[in-house]
């Protein structure tokens, strides 16, 4: 296959920034609690952007790469957005949990967090959170990117150039069989 390597970075930066921003905002960020909605959706959008700027068909491997990059960018933006909002987010979560009266069964991590015992605002915790988010979001993003290829990757195959050329690799189009 002589197709040029797609430019992954630009779509990943755009979609990752939007997904990270949405993930970091109060209330709206809770969308990630539904199967990492913003990350998976952001990665699928990155594939849509990539498909728009790339001639020929995208493979699911392309989707995985751009999706993983989107997830990593989103993790960085998410962390940056959360820095100024962290106290507000914790207070908000505390109020919601109080309203729901579920504090007694709270996971150990959250319990300590709200009691101020974990030092959640320290740079160490922030870096650890960034590392964990980047790893998890990269995997979820890769999955979203692959799904994005299934949703947006289908388009007309380019006409082969005239003259002798190697036969093109079979396109990786979606099939109906799961």
């Amino acid at each position: 296959m002589n197709q040029p390597k797609p430019e992954y970075l630009r779509p990943a930066l755009i979609a990752g920034a939007v997904a990270g921003l949405l993930s970091g905002l109060p209330f709206i960020g809770a969308g990630n609690c539904i199967c990492c909605l913003w990350i998976v959706g952001g990665a699928a959008i990155a594939v849509k952007l990539l498909a728009g700027q790339t001639p020929g068909l995208l493979t699911s491997g392309d989707g995985a790469i751009v999706g993983a990059l989107t997830g990593i960018v989103a993790a960085v933006v998410d962390t940056l957005v959360k820095i100024p909002l962290q106290r507000y987010n914790m207070e908000l979560a505390r109020r919601i949990l109080d309203t729901l009266d579920i504090e007694s069964g709270m996971p150990a991590g959250l319990d300590g967090l709200f009691n101020g015992a974990t030092g959640a605002l320290t740079p160490g915790w922030m870096l650890l959170g960034l590392f964990i988010s980047a790893a998890v979001y990269a995997v979820m993003g890769a999955l979203g990117g692959i799904i994005g290829v299934s949703l947006f990757g289908r388009k007309a195959a380019p006409q082969p150039p005239a003259g002798p050329a190697a036969p093109p690799a079979p396109p990786q189009g979606p099939t109906d069989a799961a």
């Binding site: 199967c35 699911s60 392309d62 150990a108 299934s150 990786q172 099939t175 109906d176």
Partner: protein
């Protein structure tokens, strides 16, 4: 198409994915187990790993020894479904041919129950029991390995192809 290098790649991707899935599921149960044994610090770390991907509201989580699992019932359904789909994968697709990406229609149909249940919950139309959340999550999760493995194998094959092409371009031609 069933050449040996391709078959090896598919098997390797399958094994790595299965190992990762097993570890992920194990960690979900590890958090309450650690909390139950009084290892609060370790339990806190495991809960923190899952915090970016789940609300972890205890009322919506299954419990182990009185402590909530690290993810909610719906997320557990997704991951359990992923594991089940992965277990079925060799029987449905086999491990000797290149995985084919499922269609967009398959994706939409599998996520529909979860989307309807989740949206209705958010809109306050109904509060589904945790069992139903698990089942709708499971239905979607069971399809995901078919996407994931197709992407993972294609990624490895594409990188290998590009590396081979690069090596060929670098190698000196016949003298």
């Amino acid at each position: 198409m069933s050449d040996a290098p391709l078959s090896r790649t598919v098997r390797a991707a399958f094994i790595v994915t299965a190992a990762g899935t097993a570890l992920w599921l194990l960690a979900i149960f590890l958090a309450p187990w650690l909390a139950g044994r009084g290892a609060a610090g370790a339990a806190r770390f495991v809960y923190a790993v899952f915090a970016p991907v789940c609300h972890q509201v205890p009322g919506r989580c299954f419990a182990l020894g009185g402590h909530p699992l690290a993810v909610c019932g719906r997320c557990l359904g997704i991951y359990a479904g992923f594991a089940a789909g992965l277990a079925l994968y060799p029987f449905v697709r086999g491990l000797s041919s290149k995985p084919v990406l499922p269609s967009a229609r398959t994706f939409v149909l599998s996520i529909l129950p979860l989307a309807v249940d989740g949206s209705a919950g958010v809109l306050g139309l109904w509060r589904s029991p945790i069992g139903l959340r698990f089942v709708t999550g499971f239905a979607w999760g069971a399809v995901l390995p078919f996407f994931f493995l197709a992407g993972a194998v294609d990624l490895v094959l594409t990188r290998r192809r590009r590396r081979t092409r690069g090596d060929l371009e670098k190698s000196p031609g016949p003298k």
